[in-house]
């Protein structure tokens, strides 16, 4: 792919320029926020205007219509530079009505959110492993049963905060785990992206 060739040669080939910090602009948070054009003053306790969570109720070419868990309605504008996570980094055509999402970006003057990142159906669970079935973990999440599927080649395990590996064999029934995963909408099943366990 030409684009990938361009990007690959840019990062691997060519002279590695050691550039002064000024080329990237100031990196302190206030200057970054000021440069981003954060217009309205945000009071402590306000909801974050640049973040939306909810379920998708409509999709057009570039806009997602989302209903939040508190009932408010939002529209999210998706651009070519928006990252879309649905277990794997994917493209906009994988996003379906009925999916849940978290979105982060910049709230525009007309109230829509220009999304930088979307995480579709992302869940973060602290749960107790009841038992391990073939290719899945049966979790107890605050009294509810959640089935967490392991996808070969994709699901990773982090043991004791060491770098992630694909070997799931050190997970044990009866222990607690934290699972980041992708929810299967309207079911109690998820696919594991990363499971954090203590060994």
């Amino acid at each position: 792919m030409d684009r990938r060739k361009l990007l690959t040669s840019a990062v691997l080939g060519g002279a590695a320029g050691i550039v002064g910090a000024t080329a990237l602009g100031s990196l302190s948070p206030e200057d970054v926020f000021a440069a981003e054009g954060a217009t309205a003053k945000i009071n402590p306790g306000d909801p974050d205007p640049n973040f939306i969570e909810g379920r998708i109720t409509g999709i057009t070419d570039t806009v997602l219509f989302v209903t939040s868990s508190d009932g408010s309605l939002h529209s999210i504008r998706v651009t070519g530079g928006t990252s879309i996570w649905k277990l794997n980094p994917t493209t906009f055509d994988e996003v379906k009505v009925g999916d849940g999402l978290y979105a982060r970006g910049l709230r525009l003057a007309d109230g829509t959110l220009a999304a930088d990142s979307l995480w579709v159906n992302i869940v973060n669970l602290n749960a107790h492993v009841d038992s391990i079935g073939r290719g899945s973990l049966n979790l107890d999440h605050h009294g509810q049963r959640v089935v967490a599927h392991v996808e070969n080649g994709r699901s990773a395990a982090v043991y004791n905060n060491t770098p992630a590996v694909s070997d799931m064999s050190m997970l044990e029934a009866g222990k607690h785990v934290k699972v980041i995963g992708a929810w299967h909408p309207d079911t109690n099943e998820i696919t594991i992206s990363t499971v954090y366990a203590a060994v």
Partner: protein, 300 residues
């Protein structure tokens, strides 16, 4: 034979009620457990703990009555009433407060599942059998008449009650499950791919990423592998213009110092910045504020 079986039920029920009642009345965690149950919906928050303890006391009384002679018919009747009442309470708890703890036995919170109903149903059946077929027979008459049958039926019933009790799971069910997992390896077959999360963790621990992270404003947009490298692409802003940041991370080894970055303007096809090591003078972390703390921010 059936008289023996029916007559020994008060011993079983009495034993279970002794256990349950003493935990409710004398257990160290009884107050906390009482508040976790659905009882508060029935008697109100303020009276939950006294109600729980009173119930424990009642269970102890009935247990002692069932075990100690004389064998009056009113004792298995009380057992039936108690068991039926408990089944009713479980139905109420399941419908009205499904997240509440069962509160049956022990201090471990356990949900109301089919096992709680099975155990309560077993108690009810045992009490009913005692009331119907041996209402005034002492339980110990079977001990001398048919000791083997007595022991066998009692042992089977105890195993049944223990099997239905989640409080004992950690002694037998969990070790069995762990043994089963050790033998069958249900999660194997995953191959030896390096997961994307492993590469991302390596990236965020590299000096090059930490120097450029403030310029990024998306998550990973795409990634691909080539040779010993994995390329991760993010969207970025460079000098106010939208750009693309591509990181090359060693895929098969943990070497965050080898991470390289290029920030590219894709529309023009020009490379704006490349780095294969963080600049030497940048030893200060980016999050250190360079300006004075604003007035409304108070630190400890």
């Amino acid at each position: 034979m059936s008289t023996t079986i029916a007559a020994l039920q008060p011993l079983l029920i009495g034993g279970v009620l002794l256990w349950s009642g003493s935990l409710k009345l004398f257990g160290g965690h009884a107050a906390a457990e009482a508040r976790r149950t659905a009882l508060s919906g029935l008697v109100g928050e303020a009276r939950v703990v006294p109600a729980y303890r009173t119930l424990g006391g009642l269970e102890l009384l009935i247990a002692l009555a069932l075990i100690a002679p004389p064998p009056l018919w009113i004792e298995p009747a009380a057992g039936v009433a108690l068991s039926a009442g408990f089944v009713g309470y479980l139905v109420y708890a399941k419908l009205a407060a499904p997240a509440s703890s069962c509160g049956c036995m022990g201090s471990q919170p356990s949900r109301v599942t089919w096992r709680a109903f099975a155990r309560a149903g077993t108690m009810l059946l045992a009490a009913a059998a005692a009331l119907l077929w041996a209402p005034s027979t002492a339980w110990y008459t079977g001990l001398s008449d048919e000791p083997l049958l007595f022991a066998a039926v009692l042992a089977a019933e105890i195993l049944l009650v223990v099997g239905f009790s989640p409080e004992f799971d950690h002694r037998w069910l969990l070790p069995l499950r762990r043994l089963h997992n050790r033998l069958t390896h249900p999660l194997s077959g995953g191959g030896f791919e390096i997961p994307l999360d492993s590469t991302v963790t390596q990236l965020i621990r590299s000096g090059v990423y930490r120097h450029t992270a403030a310029a990024l404003h998306s998550d990973v947009t795409e990634h691909w592998d080539e040779g010993e490298w994995r390329f991760l692409v993010y969207s970025a802003r460079y000098e106010g213009r939208p750009a693309t940041a591509v990181y090359a991370v060693p895929r098969l080894r943990y070497a965050p110092d080898d991470v390289r970055v290029a920030i590219v303007d894709e529309e023009e096809g020009s490379t704006l910045l490349t780095l294969d090591a963080p600049p030497a003078e940048d030893s200060r972390p980016e999050w250190v504020l360079t300006t004075a703390t604003p007035e409304h921010v108070h630190t400890a």
